[in-house]
């Protein structure tokens, strides 16, 4: 659904985006993570056919972002970094205006606007000027604008920024629902927990380059090594080190617990359980030690910095 090849953008001497190649299938959510100025917004603007790439190409919903810019814009819903709302306009009129720009007839505009305003809890504010809205309400209205024409592709730049936890939850639930409707979604965010919760695929961008790309599990495996598991025992070990099957590495242990790492949990974990039971160590629980996306992100950034430092030297 979204595909980029060597996508790059240079403003005068500044390389904002450098050789970004991504492939996001239908119905998948990609979270684009990166520090401020990393090139996230420029990438989204190229995908929404506002900026023309200096090099490389991109296809969105099967359309070339340069040659078929109008078609791309028609099938993309964009939540911009700044809400871009007209303060003196009432919310209902605002949605009606954008509905007209996207070619919806009066009936469709009315139905869609009512549905979205209702969904985001803005129905009572339909006649209120947007300038009187809170930050969260504005963000929700901007999201409603992006969804108005029912686009198959959504590009969301910081969708829950400035929102209270309840509103942010509402938006995240909306994104989850949209994903289940087979839409392709790109989310630019600083919120790592949100990215982990919503995204099927994570791309970390730094200084315009993608430094890591894959599913959260793949990235964790690649950046932090093999998954780690913890077993809680019904008895005390009293300093003994139980023997484990080949390919399984004991990483830590306590009085009634132990942790091990394996690259192949599917085969290894049942064997570990069998070994321990055979050694007379009854098991209470086995679970994966949680590893956050934040660890992955920091690891990726630090690896990229080291690589860059080595190149400079």
């Amino acid at each position: 659904m979204i595909c980029t090849e060597d996508l790059s953008k240079k403003f005068d001497e500044f390389q904002a985006v450098d050789a970004v190649s991504l492939d996001i299938p239908d119905g998948r959510v990609l979270a684009l993570l990166g520090p401020n100025g990393a090139g996230k917004t420029t990438t989204v603007r190229m995908l929404s056919s506002i900026l023309i790439p200096s090099r490389g190409r991109a296809w969105v919903a099967g359309f070339d972002t340069v040659i078929q810019a109008a078609q791309v814009r028609a099938c993309v819903g964009v939540l911009t970094e700044n809400h871009g709302l007209y303060n003196r306009m009432p919310a209902g009129e605002y949605l009606n205006f954008f509905g007209q720009l996207y070619g919806l007839d009066a009936q469709q505009r009315q139905a869609q606007a009512n549905k979205l305003l209702e969904h985001f809890g803005l129905a009572p504010n339909v006649r209120q000027p947007i300038g009187e809205f809170s930050k969260g309400m504005r963000q929700k209205l901007a999201l409603a604008r992006a969804l108005l024409h029912n686009p198959p592709v959504l590009l969301l730049d910081e969708p829950t920024s400035a929102m209270d936890p309840e509103s942010a939850r509402l938006v995240r639930d909306a994104i989850r629902t949209l994903r289940s409707e087979e839409r392709t979604i790109v989310i630019c965010t600083h919120n790592l927990a949100e990215a982990e919760e919503l995204a099927d695929q994570i791309a970390i961008i730094r200084q315009g380059r993608i430094i890591a790309n894959g599913s959260p599990q793949e990235l964790k495996m690649r950046m932090l090594g093999a998954a780690e598991y913890e077993i809680r025992l019904a008895v005390h070990l009293n300093g003994a080190r139980p023997s484990l099957p080949e390919g399984v590495r004991l990483t830590a242990s306590g009085s009634d617990w132990l942790r091990f790492q394996t690259g192949n949990p599917l085969n290894s974990n049942p064997l570990v359980l069998k070994y321990l039971v055979e050694q007379g160590l009854p098991i209470v629980s086995l679970q994966e030690v949680p590893r956050s996306l934040e660890q992955v992100y920091l690891q990726a950034i630090s690896a990229a910095e080291m690589e860059q430092g080595a190149r400079v030297r």
Binding site: I52, Q71, R73, A74, V78, T80, G84, Y86, L101
Partner: protein, 473 residues
């Protein structure tokens, strides 16, 4: 076409509605639109009373239509601020991006905003004119002639379109409202001069000339709209955050374009200059037509303003010519410098004028010598002498070099000015202009100035000899 306009109209409607929602914009426009015509009514009434004391009703007769024009113009200048912030204001408020993300084409967005910026000033102008006319009718029973009313309304409309289209171009090409407001001086000051010129026409009561003013302004407005459409694009709107004056980059760009791929001066003459000549073939053709039109205009002026025949005898011409030559140090290298510098100055003035008028004033300036040649030749013919002899004696020897130089200079100035109206895909307005400046410099350095030097040499050392020999017979 209809669908294009329909979507542009959606933007227009929203913008106009938004403008009329802001009382801080609407209140001054309405108050000034109503108060100013009332003030003009009072002024007209006082003027009529005053001049009647001295039995000079002509002054009042001329003043009333003049005030009608001013009443129409005033609200346009007041509401120009709406046009000036149409793009850059939205950019500063960061509300432009969702509009740019919509499937509308660049021209639909531009046209929508242009129309939106035109409606308030035009509505205010028409309202002001109505208030003024109603007031005058009620106070002194004056009604305008229908043709005068049509002229003033057309003039007001064209002035509004011209100013607004200029302001929208400024708005779409700047990065801050402050810069747009400052650049608006380039619209307001020429318009103030224009209004002064129109005032003279109105007090002179040569109302027919107003049609030419309307035509001229309509053409410039058309060119400004074309410029705006040609250079507006989403990329520029969002990609450029700061207007940085980068003289080093600009200089580098001009030098690169000037040099091209040439490795030596000879190579440059052989490969680069012919390319530029080919690129300028259309402006060269237009300039050639312009020069011919200049001669024709001069010829027809001779019939309207003839020179007395006794002043055009060849013996008198010869005497004046020889005296003139002595005064400007002919037959000496210093004379060559004087002539060459005079031509250089004329071209530089024409370039300056052409830059601010899409090349038109530049071309007109360089057409002037041709008008003079046509005028004098026709007068000589009317006096019963041979214009060919005059041309052969005083124009042809150095004209062989000078006229082609004028033609090439006109073409490159026209091209430089017209660059602003032609789309340059993938280039900014500034970059496209710098490339045209390099073409202008190529023509100047490579051909025009050397031709002017040759012409000056011939004019100083050879033309006088030819003139004395031919005219002395």
């Amino acid at each position: 076409m209809f669908d294009n306009l329909r979507l542009a109209w959606v933007i227009t409607r929203r913008e106009v509605r938004d403008t009329f929602r802001d009382w801080r914009i609407i209140f001054p426009i309405i108050v000034l639109t109503l108060v100013f015509p009332a003030l003009m009514n009072f002024t007209a009434r006082q003027a009529i009373n005053f001049v009647e004391q001295y039995n000079a009703p002509l002054i009042a007769e001329r003043m009333i239509p003049f005030l009608l024009m001013i009443v129409g113009f005033f609200p346009i200048s007041v509401s120009l601020v709406i046009a000036l912030e149409s793009f850059v204001g939205e950019k500063e408020r960061r509300s432009i991006e969702p509009l740019l993300c919509s499937p509308l084409s660049d021209s639909q967005i531009y046209l929508g905003k242009l129309l939106a910026a035109m409606i308030p000033p035009l509505a205010a102008s028409y309202m002001g004119i109505c208030v003024y006319l109603i007031g005058l009718y009620l106070q002194v029973g004056w009604t305008p002639k229908p043709i005068l009313l049509v002229q003033i309304i057309t003039l007001t409309t064209v002035q509004a379109i011209l100013m607004v289209s200029g302001a929208v171009v400024v708005s779409s090409q700047t990065t801050s409202v402050r810069a747009a407001n400052l650049l608006a001086s380039f619209i307001i000051i020429p318009m103030a001069f224009l209004i002064q010129g129109e005032s003279i026409i109105m007090f002179w009561a040569r109302y027919n000339i107003l049609w030419w003013a309307i035509l001229g302004q309509a053409l410039i407005a058309g060119l400004l709209i074309r410029t705006g459409l040609a250079y507006f694009n989403r990329e520029e709107m969002l990609g450029r955050e700061l207007d940085v004056l980068n003289f080093r980059w600009a200089g580098k760009r001009v030098v690169q374009s000037f040099q091209g791929q040439a490795l030596s001066i000879l190579d440059w003459y052989r490969t680069e200059l012919p390319v530029t000549l080919l690129q300028l073939k259309l402006p060269i053709a237009v300039s050639a037509i312009g020069l011919v039109v200049g001669v024709t205009a001069g010829t027809s002026l001779a019939k309207e303003f003839p020179i007395p025949a006794e002043l055009l005898s060849f013996s008198l011409l010869k005497q004046g010519f020889v005296e003139g030559l002595e005064m400007i140090k002919f037959y000496s290298p210093a004379g060559v410098g004087v002539v060459w510098f005079h031509n250089l100055r004329a071209v530089l003035i024409a370039t300056l004028l052409g830059t601010f008028s899409f090349g038109v004033l530049g071309l007109l300036t360089l057409m002037l010598p041709m008008v003079i040649i046509g005028y004098i030749s026709a007068n000589i013919a009317l006096a019963g002498n041979s214009p060919l002899l005059f041309l052969a004696a005083l124009v042809l020897p150095h004209g062989i070099f000078e006229i082609p130089a004028i033609l090439l200079a006109s073409a490159s100035i026209l091209n430089l000015g017209a660059t602003l109206t032609a789309p340059a895909h993938g280039k900014t307005i500034g970059e496209a202009w710098l490339i045209s400046l390099a073409k202008w410099a190529r023509m100047m350095v490579g051909l025009v100035l050397p031709l002017f030097l040759l012409a000056a040499l011939v004019e100083v050392f050879i033309t006088p000899l030819v003139a004395v020999r031919l005219l002395g017979r």
